[in-house]
Subunit: 418 residues, 2 copies
């Protein structure tokens, strides 16, 4: 009895075995997260400024789109010549995480930065999270060397880098932290890296927005209906649609990558040919709304009726661009796909257009990347807590219906979806 | 090549092997979640109305506190006579989840409802989430029998019940869903039950608030400072404090339970003696602010300076009440502990009082129950998305510093905290 009480309040043992190690652990990761977060947040700020410049410059000089094949050739050649060790991008981070072999070369960061800016300058359709995540992973992994981190810590440092990159490029620190914890293994949150991921995400977001004053596009959902049984039922078909769109997006990207990799043996030629196709398509459809990030159309999807086929067009343009070897990422095009699909759904699902656009925004992303919790938090960070129940269920249903293979071929399945 | 493309777009196979099973799964759980959610949400509404009546009646008839020992004897005797199969409460749900042996008896629901109302009527210091979770688990598990669910589905149905109970009693559906997924195994989110948990939480929350018009206390944080490096650093010591308070709370509850179980052999006498001690303490300190749910003091903690020792007093009163065998739960007292501790910290941590109270509200809960993600979402649902970064890091740090054993002795560790 007394023994048990003594054990319960055993203060010295607690200090030595629990408290002190936790304090040391916290201090260590606070220092690492501050250093890494400041670096990655600054890299994201620089990247976002460059991206804005490239987008504006292209919109003012539309002839640049005719040069997309040459831009592609340049990107392809640079990666062929200098980037063979980093060409697998996000999947490389995943592979290295599961089966650590080699440190991630620092050159991954400048190469993907250059490739993405060039992709956007010449009018490819792509995103930016790949760039952020790869810059984050590459910068963070250098600290493995510098601080001689152990294998276990290396996994944490990569997680921290991914969280910092994602958080700062979208201005959503909570979503960034959970994305890094959730992304690396489908159906599992890596609790053991939870503190470093949160710290890295916060510091990087602060560095980008607070220090460099680089702001993010605001989105607005004016009316969020009360939760009712009927509304719960309507979220489900919407979520199924978002999940299938995410699946289609992933399949289309893999499809074009397979075509190009098989048919074009010399890698630099792949984005060259892809560039010809994309430039021709832009010429044929007569609009630039499907290339680049597409942020103006995403914003529009929250307030005006858009053509029903916008989401399909964006999937086509992006999968062709990325499958051919251009750089960037999938996430902003996934936002575009989802927001326009939600916009279209407002024609027959009795929920407000802006709400459906927002649900699609995060829902398609959830389906394609298998990260429902992160996407729920992103919805809350972007659209406010009141939308949380709509965002949450849309992301969960989309996650269920997108199948087990998302846009990242190297993702490992930690638990089945049901 | 062609083979690969065909495989990628193999539509029939997709329909048969992926889409149809997902649709059936969704329909099945939609029906179950609607039925179970409506029942549990209604039970929560009934419980909350009863709790309000008991609290108001006690405040108007303070002599009832002198009858606390008799109330304790009554609760103890009823549980001894009729409730031996359900006396382990939340831990029983956990045990049954890990090692399914017997269906959870439906009587768990009325017994814990009666026990909690009686505890509050006579002035015990306790919460309500235990009641909600146990009513939820017991009601949900009846469907295992009625629908002849398999073992795998039974785990999901218990998860759904816990989500529904938690969501409806606090009015926080996202936090309820994630709590159920996170609570059952420390350091793991049960993705395989994610859709049922969300659906159950939503429907139950809607039933309680939408159908029965039972509303929840609103809390308000008027000023949320911009994120800065300095603020990130200040969240950490606050989070450590919340984690240690959560740990102390858990240890104190186990401590009193151990004392009573060893010293008092006849179970009904335990709450009788505990009732004498609590009633005497109330008489000695001359205030009723430490008994019951303590919602008025929680609200006050967001705006006025409170005595520094409030959080310790609440830990003492609650651990004594619950350790002696009164019923209810720990969560609202954990909110109380955290909000008053945050209030006290505002004396030396340069963050707004209301923000620190809110961070403590969810942070101490996170530490004591090992559910950082659920608590982050609860913070967002209660205090708005802008507070998210403060809530998130406070919950994560508190989780790290509370040790591996929380208030639930039967929780299984899924992954280490770092």
């Amino acid at each position: 009895m007394l023994e048990k009480i003594r054990e319960l309040i055993h203060f010295k043992k607690f200090l030595k075995l629990e408290f002190s190690p936790s304090v040391l652990y916290t201090l260590k990761w606070l220092i690492l997260a501050t250093l890494i977060g400041l670096l990655i947040g600054s890299a994201s700020a620089f990247f976002l400024i460059g991206l804005k410049w490239a987008t504006d410059y292209r919109e003012d000089h539309l002839y640049l789109i005719a040069l997309l094949p040459l831009g592609g050739l340049l990107i392809g050649w640079v990666y062929h010549r200098f980037g063979e060790s980093v060409v697998k991008g996000n999947n490389q981070l995943l592979d290295e995480f599961y089966r650590p072999l080699n440190p991630i070369p620092l050159r991954m960061a400048p190469l993907v930065l250059f490739g993405t800016i060039a992709t956007h300058l010449f009018g490819g359709s792509a995103g930016r999270e790949g760039t952020a995540v790869q810059m984050g992973g590459a910068i963070a992994d250098q600290f493995t060397k510098w601080f001689r981190l152990k294998r276990h810590d290396r996994k944490t440092v990569i997680t921290l880098g991914v969280a910092a990159g994602f958080a700062s490029v979208f201005g959503t620190p909570l979503a960034g932290a959970i994305f890094a914890l959730e992304w690396l293994i489908v159906g599992r949150v890596r609790y053991e890296a939870i503190l470093p991921a949160f710290l890295g995400a916060y510091v990087a977001d602060y560095a980008c927005e607070g220090i460099w004053a680089v702001h993010h596009t605001p989105y607005h959902i004016p009316i969020i209906p009360e939760l009712s049984l009927e509304n719960v039922f309507w979220i489900i078909p919407a979520g199924i649609g978002f999940g299938l769109a995410g699946r289609l997006f992933a399949k289309a990207t893999h499809f074009w990558a397979a075509i190009f990799n098989h048919q074009v043996k010399y890698p630099p030629l792949r984005p060259f040919i892809g560039g010809i196709l994309v430039a021709l398509l832009v010429y044929l459809v007569g609009t630039t709304k499907y290339i680049g990030l597409g942020v103006p159309t995403i914003v529009e999807a929250f307030s005006s009726d858009l053509p029903w086929y916008d989401f399909l067009a964006k999937i086509g343009f992006t999968s062709l661009t990325l499958g051919a070897g251009f750089k960037g990422g999938e996430v902003t095009p996934l936002f575009y796909t989802g927001a326009t699909l939600g916009n279209m759904m407002s024609g027959f699902i009795p929920l407000p257009m802006a709400l459906l656009a927002g649900m699609g925004f995060v829902g398609v992303f959830s389906g394609a990347t298998n990260t429902p919790l992160s996407c729920t938090l992103m919805g809350i960070e972007l659209f406010g807590a009141e939308s949380g129940v709509y965002m949450g269920l849309a992301c969960v249903v989309a996650y269920l219906f997108s199948g087990h293979s998302g846009i990242y071929g190297s993702q490992v399945i930690g638990s089945p979806k049901h």
